[in-house]
Assembly symmetry: C2
Homo-oligomer: 234 residues x 2
C-alpha cells in the first residue's frame, strides 16, 4: 500500500520539487495550493485571496475526507509561502501584510488543523518558518506572518498542543533557497550562499520516510555558506 503525503503549497518551487521526489518513490501525493500540480495524484485547489481562512479550512478537510475514503495520511508537509517587500510607508502596506498572512500563515494553520483530523497516529507534520528572524522593517508583512508561524509551531509542538497522539512534528527554518523564482528575482545574488533546492527536498523526504529521525518538537535552521549546507536543531 502506498504511503500518503500532503504537500501544502504544491505549486510553489519547493512544493513541486517535493512532489516530483515523492512520486518517484511511489508515495501517493495530495497537493494543496492555489493552482493544481499536474504530477500529484490528488489536488485540492483553494483561493487564498477570495476564500476566508474558515472556508479554505472546510474545503481542505472535506476534499481530504473524500480523497482518503477512511484512510489517513502518513505525513502532512506545509511548504506554502511567498515573499513581498513592504515597509510601513508604502501605499499598499496593508494589502501586502494581508497577502503575506494569507500566503504564509493561513496554510500553516490549516495544515496543522488538518493533521488533527486526517493524520495517522505516529504520523509526521512539518511546518516551514524562516532562519534567524529579526525585525523586518523592509518587509513587515512577511515578518509578522513568519513570526506567527514560529509561535504556532511552538504552541502545537508543546505538550498540550492538541496534535494526535505520537505525532512527529518539526519545522524547518530555511534561509534563502536556490529556486528558479529566487534566481529570477535576485539575479545578481551569490548563489553559493543559497540552499540547493534538491538537497533540501531530499532532506525533507528523508525526515518523512524515516531515513532521518525527526527532531521532535524542534525547528531546524538551514543555512548555506560557500556551497556548504548546515542543519542546526534549535
Amino acid at each position: 500500500m502506498a504511503h500518503r503525503v500532503v504537500i501544502y503549497g504544491g505549486s510553489g518551487n519547493l512544493g513541486r520539487s517535493l512532489i516530483t521526489l515523492f512520486n518517484k518513490n511511489n508515495w501517493e501525493v495530495t497537493s494543496i495550493g492555489t493552482r493544481p500540480n499536474e504530477e500529484a495524484a490528488h489536488n485540492i485547489v483553494v483561493s487564498n485571496k477570495e476564500e476566508s481562512l474558515e472556508v479554505q479550512g472546510k474545503k481542505v478537510i472535506q476534499n481530504s475526507n473524500s480523497i482518503l475514503n477512511g484512510e489517513k495520511y502518513d505525513a502532512i508537509l506545509c511548504v506554502a509561502g511567498g515573499f513581498c517587500m513592504g515597509d510601513l510607508a508604502k501605499e499598499d502596506f496593508l494589502e501586502t501584510a494581508d497577502l503575506m498572512i494569507k500566503k504564509i500563515l493561513n496554510p500553516s494553520l490549516i495544515a496543522s488543523k488538518l493533521s488533527t483530523v486526517n493524520l495517522k497516529e505516529g504520523g509526521f507534520l512539518m511546518l516551514t518558518g524562516v532562519a534567524d528572524l529579526q525585525s523586518t522593517p523592509g518587509f513587515i508583512g512577511y515578518g509578522i506572518a513568519k513570526a506567527a508561524v514560529h509561535h504556532l509551531f511552538n504552541s502545537i509542538a508543546s505538550k498540550k498542543g492538541g496534535l494526535p497522539k505520537n505525532t512527529k512534528v518539526m519545522a524547518i527554518q530555511p534561509a534563502t533557497i536556490d529556486t528558479p523564482d529566487n534566481r529570477k528575482g535576485m539575479p545578481d545574488a551569490d548563489f553559493s550562499q543559497w540552499i540547493p533546492l534538491d538537497l533540501l527536498t531530499r532532506r525533507i523526504f528523508e525526515y518523512t520516510n524515516g531515513t532521518l529521525s525527526v527532531p521532535q518538537g524542534k525547528m531546524v535552521k538551514i543555512t548555506t555558506k560557500n556551497g556548504e549546507t548546515s542543519f542546526v536543531e534549535l
Copy 2:
C-alpha cells in the same frame, strides 16, 4: 488648541477608561472601534468581521482625513484586542484564529499605517503587546496574533521602520488587567495579581502628555504582584 488623540479600541475596557481620562483633560478624542464610544468627540466605526484589512484601513484613513481637516494627531494609541481560548483540536480552531488576527493584529497594522499619514512630526504611537509571551497551546489564535504584533512593533521601531521623522514609539506589554470583563470571565482569580485599570490608564496618559518620557522604541512589561505594579523596559 486641544491636543488630538486616537484611541484605537475605544469601546473596549482599557479604551473606554482612556477616553474618559483624555476627555477630562480636554484632549479631542477620536475613537476607532467596532462600536461607537459616546464620550468621544469623533467616532470611526469599523467591522473587523465583515470588512477586510484593506477596506478597514481605507475607511479609517478617509474618515480620519475628514475629521482632521488638514490638522494632525498628537498621538495614536492602539489598545484594541480580545481574548479567546482555542487549542488545535477544537472544532472552531480556524475561526478562533481568524477572529484573534482580526481583533488584535489588524488594528495594530492599521494604527501603524495611520501614523504615517496623520500623525504629526514628533507625535506618539503606542501599540499593545502582552507580557512574557511563550507558547500558548490552549489559546493559539491569541498567541500568534500577539507574536505578530511584537514583530510588527520591533520592525516599525527600528531605524528604517517607515514612521514619520521623530515619531515617539513604544509598546506596552501588560499582563492581565483588572477590568470588569476580566472579573466577569475569571471571578475566582486573585485580583491582587492583576494590573489596576486606573493605574494603567494614568500611566498611558502620562506617556502621551509628556509627564513621563517615552522609552523610545522599547516595550514596557507591566505586571502586578500582590497589588504592586511594576513597569520594566525591555
